[in-house]
């Protein structure tokens, strides 16, 4: 018997397992394949606080603090190498000025810089058409493999059980109470279920017969990695909305990782030639020198999207105890530590000090969509 | 038989494979082909090229046997064999003439003295080259040489080393 059963062994699931285990809870994680195999190991590595609304800014500010703490405590790579949004029009600049004001209000030190300053940060940039850039040096990136495995390791050390290749087939609810979870490896009896399956969340919600509509849909997002080049050439995450929502940065190993916003609805994850052509076309406009790098591979992962690109996080009141922690719309990795902390508080204390009301899973039902979160890298 | 752990076949093993070796009488009549091919492999050129149907194989994977009486000693099998596993032996007086493929440089010349090597490459004596079929005249693209040697070495020597100053 487990107090809490988390479905989904991505970074959100294992980080939450760690937080709950730390609070003395018995936790079980059920992962259909291997840890990180869903979207975590396919992510773009970025961690940013440059959002356009108060809630996400505050949440991500805390997340960065936690990233810093855990990377030191657990020993995985996390660097505050910044996020650089390239701006090409007056309209974009206006939008970003407002965002910056809001970010500054909560202590996130973003500022508007000139193209020349941007080129000092990333000397390889093509600033020909760039009018300005939004720069926050405290945003960053982390190694998704080492980070996820570190949370899993720490969770296990505190007694959490992680079952891989364990696929949930059904959730048994009797009289509004959770009894347990049926899987291909047998029955797990439990009183609390957390749906942390992101792209697959609606399937798990259906198993528990969640009575409200939580529209989370899978979208294929592709990324590339290139051969390694000398470190330090593209430190921050560089973003350009103009170039089909392109994002790119250099990994600790030296390769360029990134993608463009070419979306496809559904569960297919086959990398496409169309993407390969599009991403190369856009990248060389932003950083022409990349043209001589070789692409080692293209892969795809899911953005589990909600209509407002904000996740659905919270307790489902009609089922005792069922939580939804999904629909991250591309921000699951960066949010994982703070989401784990907040949800652990929700489960153990019934509340969190963070503005998680913003992610209220009932908002869709009520037709109260949030302002769309900046969905990017 | 453990020829596969050693990489060569002993004369006893060869006898077992071939059933019997040619009689001394036959060996003195004219050259006779000896296949040293104890393993079933899918290969048939020796049978296909033989003008007298002296090479016997039930199927393409069978071990080739030679009808010593039908064999006319033409050496075509020695020339064609992809595994370089056919030899010819001919007794003449107190000498034996062993015909073998020689795909190495230099190809010896008629009359040249060569070092005789047994099945494991040991030097066992010296012999004299009496016949050379150069590569361009060989029907199997492999040069073939006939070496005269003491009769007691005929069943041991399977290669030569050519040493020139």
């Amino acid at each position: 018997m487990s107090e809490v059963t988390i479905i989904g062994g991505g970074i959100t699931g294992v980080a939450l397992a760690y937080e709950l285990a730390k609070r003395g809870y018995e936790v079980t994680v059920l992962e259909r394949r291997f840890i990180g195999s869903g979207s975590t190991f396919r992510c773009g590595t970025g961690i940013r606080q440059q959002f356009g609304d108060e809630a996400n800014i505050q949440v991500m500010k805390r997340s960065v603090e936690l990233w810093k703490k855990y990377s030191e405590d657990f020993g995985f790579p996390f660097t505050q190498s910044g996020y650089l949004f390239l701006l090409y029009s007056e309209e974009e600049i206006e939008d970003f000025k407002n965002n910056i004001k809001l970010q500054n209000k909560f202590g996130v030190p973003t500022r508007l810089i000139t193209p020349e300053e941007a080129k000092e940060i990333v000397p390889l940039l093509n600033i020909e058409d760039v009018l300005a850039a939004s720069w926050n040096p405290t945003d960053g990136k982390a190694d998704p493999f080492k980070a996820t495995m570190a949370f899993a390791r720490e969770a296990k050390e505190l007694g959490a059980k992680i079952y891989e290749y364990t696929e949930v087939k059904d959730i048994v609810v009797e009289n509004g109470e959770i009894k347990g979870v049926k899987t291909n490896k047998g029955f797990f009896s439990t009183g609390t279920v957390v749906n942390a399956t992101n792209a697959w969340a609606k399937l798990i919600n259906a198993m528990a017969e969640v009575p409200i509509t939580i529209p989370i849909e899978p979208y294929k997002h592709q990324a590339i990695i290139t051969q390694p080049m000398k470190s330090g050439q593209i430190n921050p995450m560089v973003i350009s909305f103009k170039h089909r929502d392109a994002y790119l940065t250099q990994t600790a190993h030296g390769g360029i990782v990134g993608g463009v916003g070419l979306e496809e609805h559904g569960y297919d994850l086959t990398p496409t030639y169309e993407f390969l052509k599009e991403v190369t076309k856009q990248f060389i406009q932003i950083i022409p020198a990349l043209k001589d790098l070789r692409i080692l591979r293209v892969w795809a992962g899911f953005y589990a999207k909600t209509p407002d690109s904000n996740p659905a996080i919270g307790r489902i009141n009609e089922i005792d105890e069922y939580y939804i922690v999904a629909g991250f719309s591309g921000h699951g990795f960066m949010m994982a530590p703070v989401v784990a902390e907040g949800v652990a508080d929700l489960i153990t204390k019934g509340k969190t000090n963070l503005p998680f009301w913003w992610y209220d899973p009932y908002r869709f039902e009520r037709g109260e969509l949030r302002s769309k979160a900046i969905q990017m890298g | 038989m453990n020829y596969l752990s050693k990489g060569y076949v002993t004369i006893e093993e060869l006898k077992e494979v071939l059933g019997e070796l040619p009689s001394e009488e036959r060996l003195r009549q004219r050259p006779v082909a000896i296949p040293e091919c104890p393993q079933e492999i899918p290969c048939t050129p020796c049978k296909e090229i033989c003008p007298t149907e002296a090479v016997l194989m039930e199927n393409p994977n069978a071990i080739p046997l030679v009808d010593y009486e039908k064999c006319v000693g033409c050496s075509l099998c020695v020339q064609i064999c992809p595994g370089l596993a056919f030899f010819m032996i001919h007794y003449k007086g107190d000498k034996a003439r062993v015909t073998m493929p020689h795909e190495l440089l230099p190809v010896p010349e008629i009359g040249e003295e060569v070092i005789l090597l047994n099945r494991i490459g040991e030097e066992v004596g010296k012999g004299k080259v009496v016949l050379v079929i150069p590569r361009e005249k060989s029907k199997g693209d492999t040069p073939v040489i006939t070496v005269e040697m003491p009769i007691e070495l005929a069943w041991d020597v399977r290669a030569v080393k050519v040493v020139r100053e």
């Binding site: 290139t226 030639y273 293209v298 | -």
Partner: protein, 93 residues
């Protein structure tokens, strides 16, 4: 079958991109036996040969150390481009 005995794992290379036998054994020692995860933690199979020369050797090491049958170890999917290709070639400069 492969022999892992009487060799120094720090000087034995599983992958030409500097991944040693020790790197793999260290991850195995942590209890991680999934090739997909070992690949990501050690970077075996993630370099220029795109796994052609190293991923099967890594799988053999896992098989030898864990007793898992080779047929149970799934190879990571190969993905486009299956040869490293320059960005400007795709752009067809």
């Amino acid at each position: 079958m492969i022999n892992l005995d009487k060799i120094d794992p720090e000087k034995t290379f599983i992958c030409g991109c500097d991944v040693t036998l020790k790197d793999i054994l260290d991850v195995l020692d942590e209890g991680i036996t999934d090739l997909e995860i070992i690949k990501r933690l050690t970077r075996v199979g993630m370099g220029f040969c795109q796994g052609r020369y190293c991923i099967v050797t890594a799988a053999q090491v896992i098989s030898a150390k864990t007793g898992k049958d080779m047929k149970e170890i799934k190879l990571p999917t190969s993905r486009i481009p299956i040869k490293p290709v320059k960005i400007k070639v795709i752009a067809n400069e």
